[in-house]
Symmetry: D2
Subunit: 92 residues, 4 copies
């Protein structure tokens, strides 16, 4: 089975590689004893980038998996799963 | 100057390397067409790990830089800077 | 038209009235010069309660409005709208 | 003892009363069966307003209570308390 992020896979991987690079950049800042506030700024930038990736993926997931399940007996389970995942992002 | 995370530098780097590994793990999941909800779970786990690192760093920063500035004319600026950084985490 | 939170309306209103009461409680704490950290704790409690209400409402919305639109030409618009709303909660 | 939000008490109470009014507005929207997405938008607006109030209060708290404690043996405890409160906002 191909998941719905399939067609955006390249864009998704690019974003994730950029985030990986940002995390390595933070390690370098720590290594070079950069000012803590600048490091904290970078950390919140990575967090925001992760939220964006998460939101993209959620959109694909809703359009794909959740929509596909809508007329099946899986629908309620899919909705619960989606709400759970949003809840994890909101740490609720 | 040595910043106050100095003595926790090793622990901080370890956490950051683990986060880097998690981000690479997410890339692998995308590569292998894993289920989107599982990927989203991993993304929110990385986000939570970043918050923890941020909070550690904030503690060191307050104990170090902010406390040191308290009796100087830099204090207000340091407090504003700290509040700004918390605001960025809250995206406020 | 009756929106899908219809059947949970009473529960939803109860939660909202409790939140209103919490906000009034915070005003009282400020009035009585309570300790700022205790007030901040209350504020983050209200925030968490709002997230819970939001998540409940989202579940009803997905099960109702989004699911209903799934086989119509409104579906994409509904999904975008839902993703937007999640994005606002994540402040993304 | 007068807490450091003392001088901003009026502004703080005004903001809290506005938030209380917003929460009542949401109850009215539910009462009148407004569209769930519009209600969700309002909920995230209240959440953002609470974050702003929290940040204001934090600033006063750091300038006041934390700064005052800096040269006392209470300082570490105050810093931990502050970090705890930020952590609650980040739900960390």
């Amino acid at each position: 089975m191909v998941y719905p992020y399939g067609e955006n896979k390249e864009a998704l991987q690019r974003r994730l590689r950029r985030i990986e690079g940002q995390v390595r950049g933070i390690q370098r800042m720590v290594e070079e004893d950069k000012y803590c506030v600048d490091i904290l700024d970078q950390i919140s930038a990575v967090r925001a980038a992760l939220d964006k990736v998460g939101l993209h993926l959620m959109r694909d997931h809703i359009k794909g998996c959740v929509a596909e399940a809508v007329s099946t007996d899986q629908h309620d389970a899919k909705v619960e799963e989606l709400v759970d995942v949003v809840g994890k992002f909101l740490k609720t």
